[in-house]
Structures are given as C-alpha cells and as structure tokens.
C-alpha cells in the first residue's frame, strides 16, 4: 500500500487494516524526531493547517499544532465560539472560506457527529482531519491508543483489551473498537447498562455488565472519562456509586494479566474512573499516550499532506 485510500481522516470505521498499519509504522520515526534536541523537520514547510474547534479541547488542539510545527507547517487556530471570522456563519461558508484562504488541512472538533464528513463533502482541495465529532469517532486518539499498545506490547493480534466506562457517549471507545478489532485484538466493553448503547456486539465487542469478568486476564485496560452530567441526565444514581461499581483500583486491576497496561484518553477524574494512585503507577501508559499522540498526528499529517 502506497498511502491512505481516503483524502480525509474521518474515522477508523472506514480504514483498512493495512492503512492503520501504515500510520502506525510511519509514527515510529516521528517519535524519533520528537526525541531530538531540535524537534524540527522541513517535511511540511509551506503547508497551512487550521484547527477549527467548535468544542474546546486544549490538549488535542495543542497536540495537532505541535505535530504540525515539528514538521515545519504553519498553524492557525480558530475557535468559532469566540472568533469573529466565523461566528454565526454556517458550516459550509466557514470551511469554504478557510479553503479560499489557502488552508491545506482543517482539523475539526465538533460536538455533533458527522460534521467532519459534511465539511469534507463541501471542500475540493483542503483535507479534513476529524479531531473528535460528537459520540462518533476520534480517529487520531484511536490510532495513538493502537500505537501505544503496540509499542508497549510488541503486537496487537490476540490481545485482550477491556474498555471500561461510558461507552455510550465515547467517541474514543468507538474508534478503539474499530481499530483494535481490525488489527486482530479482542475487545471487551464494560459499564453500567445505561451507558452501553445497542449494537456493540455487532461492532465486534464483547459486552459485560460487571467490571470483574471484563478485567479477568486482560492485557490492556482502557478507562474512559465519566462526565458529571450523566448523573443529572438520569443515567447514573451518583458518581460515588459509579466509582464503587466500575472505578478501577489496584485490587481490581489485579484480576487482569500481571503485565497489564493501563490507559486513559484523559483528562482523568481521579477517584472516579481511576483510583488516584493508578495514574502514575508502573502499569500506566497515560503519559506516554500523550507523547505518542503527537507522533501519530505527525504521521497522519505526513501521510495526508506530504505524501503527494
């Protein structure tokens, strides 16, 4: 395979295993660039990347911007909620304006599923990267999770990966399920019944309503962030009860394989989905996920902008 089949990166559901593999392979030398004293390669010099974040997320935006800068691209960030450039403009006008201004890539985060795909349909030249759309997908997070697991475990095939928590609202869970199953890992999901949407089995995951059996013998455990508002929405009696039933503790994690890898897309609610001491525990890859995120995004940028 020479490159990615699609012009845009919208989700892992649409990607073939060879394409995912290509991104992961490309990310390895990128991680090397980040370890240099001068983190700069001229690969994307002259390219312009715009981050268009309708929903604020400093972590993801900075990760993309650093990835672009390390490769020599110029970046502009737009927060439509505050920017007069696009305030009140409809989606189509906004991206077509950005294209007319010369943007080579728009990295978009939106609270509604499907927006990156809609934008891609209205553009003729500019490339769209989905940085998280509603409950749909967060493909670069999914890719960095795959990359982290493969770096730590040396493989993906045959691994037992448990994803714990609010699957219903998690775009990360969806990207992880698609990516992991395509790459040959087995995925288990566990959470309160009110936070498990229908159809997860059809997506390829095994569904558990209790934490313990999902953890048993797992190679990797991914905890998801639980939002406070789930209680107000009537989906949970209380965060306390959630923590008591599904919160990860060292004792519970002992059910997994001895060399279990613990991951979390961040930011962590300490004491809710994870016991505070687990965040920095030896089994935790949470900080390395952040570092790997930049490398994987460099790979994505390179493959979508630099390859041709």
């Amino acid at each position: 395979m020479a490159g990615l089949a699609a012009r845009h990166l919208l989700g892992l559901a649409e990607m073939e295993a060879e394409e995912i593999n290509l991104v992961l392979e490309t990310a390895r030398p990128m991680a090397g660039v980040m370890e240099r004293p001068i983190k700069k390669v001229p690969t994307l010099r002259g390219k312009v990347l715009v981050t268009l974040f309708y929903e604020p997320s400093t972590r993801t935006r900075v990760s993309f911007e650093l990835a672009a800068k390390y490769m020599g691209a110029d970046t502009v960030s737009i927060a439509p909620a505050t920017s007069s450039v696009v305030k009140g403009e409809n989606l189509r006008d906004t991206v077509q304006t950005l294209e007319a201004l010369g943007a080579d890539m728009v990295v978009v985060r939106h609270q509604t599923a499907g927006v990156p795909g809609q934008l891609a349909g209205w553009l003729s030249r500019t490339v769209v990267v989905n940085a998280g759309d509603g409950m749909h997908e967060h493909p670069t997070q999914g890719l960095l999770d795959l990359f982290t697991i493969r770096e730590e475990k040396g493989r993906l095939v045959g691994l037992e990966v448990a994803i714990i928590g609010d699957i219903l609202h998690s775009r990360v869970a969806r990207s992880d399920i698609w990516g992991l199953t395509k790459m040959g890992a087995r995925v288990r999901v566990a959470g309160p019944a009110t936070l498990l949407p229908p159809g997860l089995e059809k997506m390829g995951a095994q569904v558990y309503h209790r934490l313990e059996p999902a953890l048993e013998g797992a190679d990797v455990v991914i905890a998801l962030r639980l939002q406070q508002e789930r209680q107000r929405q009537g989906l949970l009696p209380s965060l306390r009860e959630y923590a008591a039933s599904f919160g990860l503790t060292p004792g519970r994690l002992a059910l997994a394989k001895p060399d279990v890898l613990l991951m979390h897309p961040g930011p962590v609610n300490r004491g809710v989905e994870l016991a505070a001491e687990l965040v920095d525990a030896p089994c935790s890859a949470i900080n390395r996920q952040v570092t790997n995120g930049v490398a994987v995004r460099m790979a994505v940028l390179y493959l979508l902008l630099g390859g041709g």
């Binding site: 559901a13 409809n90 989606l91 189509r92 939106h110 609270q111 509604t112 599923a113 499907g114 927006v115 795909g117 809609q118 759309d133 509603g134 409950m135 749909h136 997908e137 775009r171 969806r174 949407p197 229908p198 159809g199 997860l200 059809k202 997506m203």
Partner: protein, 435 residues
C-alpha cells in the same frame, strides 16, 4: 383563465379503487369540472379537448392527508402556492395541511385565513387540519367546533404529541362528537429523549442520539386504548415500526375505530440510510431498521395500514446545511411520493396498482369524509395520469417545492405522474406546471 368546459381522456388504463374498476382501454369524460362518464369509446362532445391516455394509468387525483405547507409563519420553507404546485407536480390534487404554522391553526381565524389563501393561490385542493390543543401545548382543547365550522377536516397537534393521556381522551370525545377524526403523532417525548435518529446499531456506530422504537409504540398503545375507552376514531400518523403495525392489526381485528398511515420514506429507506450523515435522512419518526420496513410493507399490503401520506416537511436549504443535531426534522415529499411507491412497492410486485392507488385516494378521502378520491360519475373531476414506464432520476435541486430536503436525490424512479387535473382544469401536463 378559462376552464376547459369538457375534456375526454381516451384510451387509458382507468383505475378507480373506490368502485373497484381497473379497465383498459377506457375513457373518462369530464364536463364542467365533474366526472360525467367512464366507459369505452365515448364520443367526444363538440369542442371537447381530447387527451390521448394510451399507455397511461388514469386514476383519481391523489389525496395526501399529511402535508406541511408552512404558511403562515414559515414562508421561507414553503408557501401554500409553492407547496400546492409541488403537490400538483406529484399528481396530488387534494391535501390536508397540518396546523403547526405560526400562528398555529388553533383558532378559526387562522384556519379560515389558510382556507381562503389556498382558494386564492392553491394549485391543488387544500383541506386544513386544526389543532387539538391551544398553542399545540397539549393542555387545553382548541375550539374544535369553531375550527370545524371554519373548515377543519381533522385535528392534530402534529410535530408535538399530546403528552397527557387525559387531554387526548377528551380530544377524542370532543372531536368525535363533531364527526372529525383526530390524527395522532405518536411519540413519548421522555422516551424520545432528544434523539435525532432511530436508536439501534446505526445510532451507536454514527454516534448520534437515538430515539427508541418504544417512544412511538407506547403512544400507539395508548391511542388504541383511548379509542377503546371513548369509542371514537383515531388516525395514527406516519407509523414506523413493526410493533406499531402489529398493535393496529390487533385493534382493528377487535373492531376498534383505528386507522393508520405510512410514509413513502418509511417504506423505502432504513436507518442505514443515515450513514453518511445526509441531513435529508433526519426525519421524525426516524427511519427504522430493515425489519420494520418489511413489516410496514406487509401491513400496507394486508390492509392493516390503509393510507400512504407524504408527511411533506420542507425546509430551506440553509437549514439543512447545519450539523445533524441542529437540522430540523423532515423530508420534502410530495413530488416523489407516487414514483417512490410505484418503484418500491408496485414495480417490485408487492402491491397492485389498484391497492397502491387506493391508499393515496379513496382510503384517506373516506377517513376524512372528503368528497374526492374517486372517478365515479358526479364526482369532482380531480384526475391524475401516470406513466408507469417513465423513468427519471430524482433531482432535488429541480423541485418545485422550496424544500429540497430529499433523501431520494439521485434515485432512478419509475411511475411518474404526467398530468394532474383539478376540478376539470389541467394544472400539470407533461411534467410542466401550467400558469
């Protein structure tokens, strides 16, 4: 313009489901706006315009009992003029317009204004529905007797359900005493939970908030129980699930006065069509899984569901270019209702032409008590000619309706209307609107 005094439609396949007629070749003679005779080799009166209908189906003008014309209040979406012209393009000669305008038709003044406006600007007959409750708030009954006197042919809070069962009970009793049917939009708002599509595999994959089939089904069950309690008629709008249809079948077997309609889009599309996020697939009730689509087709074929209605819900282009959560629900449906039904149900062999046409003519006319939907001598000369072989690709950008929100864009459909006659006057001929 001068109405044509007499018209002879010659040599077509005349299908009149009201009388059970399906004959070819046969002629239809129209005199002074009424059907004069139907038979073989009718002589043309002097000065009559003769229409060659060979190879065409000659049917009663279609009756679409569920249309949103948007005027007054939302003229950027549709007007009575544009909506009825679009209907005429779709072979529809009579339509019921829903009262969720601004102001809503919850008072006789607004309803009479709509009726008058339709007489002035309408290209098809418009039969307005009035609101069930004041302001469509589901609390106090609207002045139904006054609305009926002003021309309301039915009552509905469509778009909103009547959430309180006690209010619905009184509405059925009161409307029933006026000889009017209540049309229920079956949706439990709490269960629907702000969903934007059907809750199932596809809502999970697409990451959109789902509304479960149960949101419709618990209300269908409620309306059937209230029909039993009151003994009054209830018509269930846009049925979308197999369980809803099963409950209606049971109710009808029991002899309860329950009727139901289904839309062309619920007969033709499943929730898989939402993949790709075409905002034209956002509709309420939502597109359902394929097994529901099959169940609805069977319910229609078996007579459990009597009516096909478009639920024409046009929106401005700008409104459909928002993100999926923001986009309003609805499909612009009058221009594609007939060819979708012809292609998906008739051409596929599931439904005979006479049955399909019954669901769009005499069945809704009888439920509403309208003097249309038949070719019997003496009836109003509302006639639609259909070319069952005509194949065309749907181009929503060429819709007559101001609403271009169609999920059928790019579909190759056959069985298009080629002439629409309202009261003996030709309003559409050869896919062109006249005047």
């Amino acid at each position: 313009m001068n109405p044509i005094v007499s018209l002879l439609i010659k040599g077509g396949r005349v299908i009149d489901p009201a009388s059970g007629m399906d004959q070819e070749p046969a002629d239809v003679l129209v005199l002074e706006g009424k059907i004069a005779r139907v038979g073989c080799d009718l002589p043309a009166p002097a000065g009559a315009r003769v229409v060659d209908a060979s190879g065409r189906i000659v049917a009663p003008g279609l009756v679409d009992m569920h249309v949103h014309l948007r005027e007054p209040g939302y003229e950027h979406k549709e007007t009575i003029a544009t909506g009825t012209r679009a209907a005429a393009m779709g072979g529809i000669t009579s339509l019921v317009c829903m009262p969720n305008t601004d102001p809503p038709a919850d008072n006789p003044g607004t309803l009479a204004w709509i009726a008058a406006r339709a007489r002035e600007t309408g290209a098809a007959r418009v039969w307005p529905a009035g609101c069930i409750t004041k302001g469509r708030r589901g609390e106090e009954l609207a002045e139904m007797a006054s609305l009926a006197a002003a021309g309301a042919v039915a009552f509905s809070d469509d778009g909103f359900p009547v959430a309180r069962a006690g209010v619905m009970r009184r509405a059925l009793e009161y409307a029933g005493s006026l000889g009017r049917v209540v049309i229920s939009h079956c949706e439990d708002p709490d269960l629907a939970g702000g969903g934007v599509m059907h809750e199932g595999y596809w809502s999970t994959v697409l990451g959109l908030v789902g509304m479960p089939a149960a949101a419709e089904e618990v209300m269908v069950a409620r309306e059937i129980i209230l029909a039993r309690l009151t003994g009054q008629r209830v018509h269930l709008a846009h049925l979308s699930t197999g369980l809803s249809a099963a409950m209606v079948r049971r109710a009808r077997e029991e002899g309860l006065p329950v009727t139901a309609e289904v839309t062309p889009h619920h007969l033709a599309l499943s929730d898989a069509a939402v993949a790709g996020y075409d905002t034209s697939t956002k509709v309420n009730p939502p597109l359902r899984p394929q097994e529901d689509v099959e169940a609805l087709r069977q319910a229609l074929a078996g007579g459990v569901v009597q009516v096909i209605a478009s639920d024409h819900a046009p929106h401005a282009a700008q409104e459909k270019e928002q993100d999926f959560d923001q986009v309003p629900f609805g499909i612009s449906g009058v221009e594609t209702m007939l060819p979708v039904v012809a292609t998906v149900l008739v051409k596929s062999g599931l439904l005979a032409w006479s049955r399909a046409l019954a669901a769009m003519t005499v069945k809704p006319a009888r439920i509403l008590g309208l003097p249309v939907g038949t070719l019997e001598p003496g009836a109003l000369a509302d006639i639609t000619l259909i070319d069952p072989e005509l194949e065309m690709v749907v181009d929503r950008d060429r819709f007559v309706s101001l609403g271009h929100n169609s999920p059928f864009h790019g579909w190759k459909l056959s069985g298009w209307p080629v002439m629409t006659i309202v009261g003996g006057e030709i309003v559409m001929d050869g896919r062109q609107l006249l005047s």
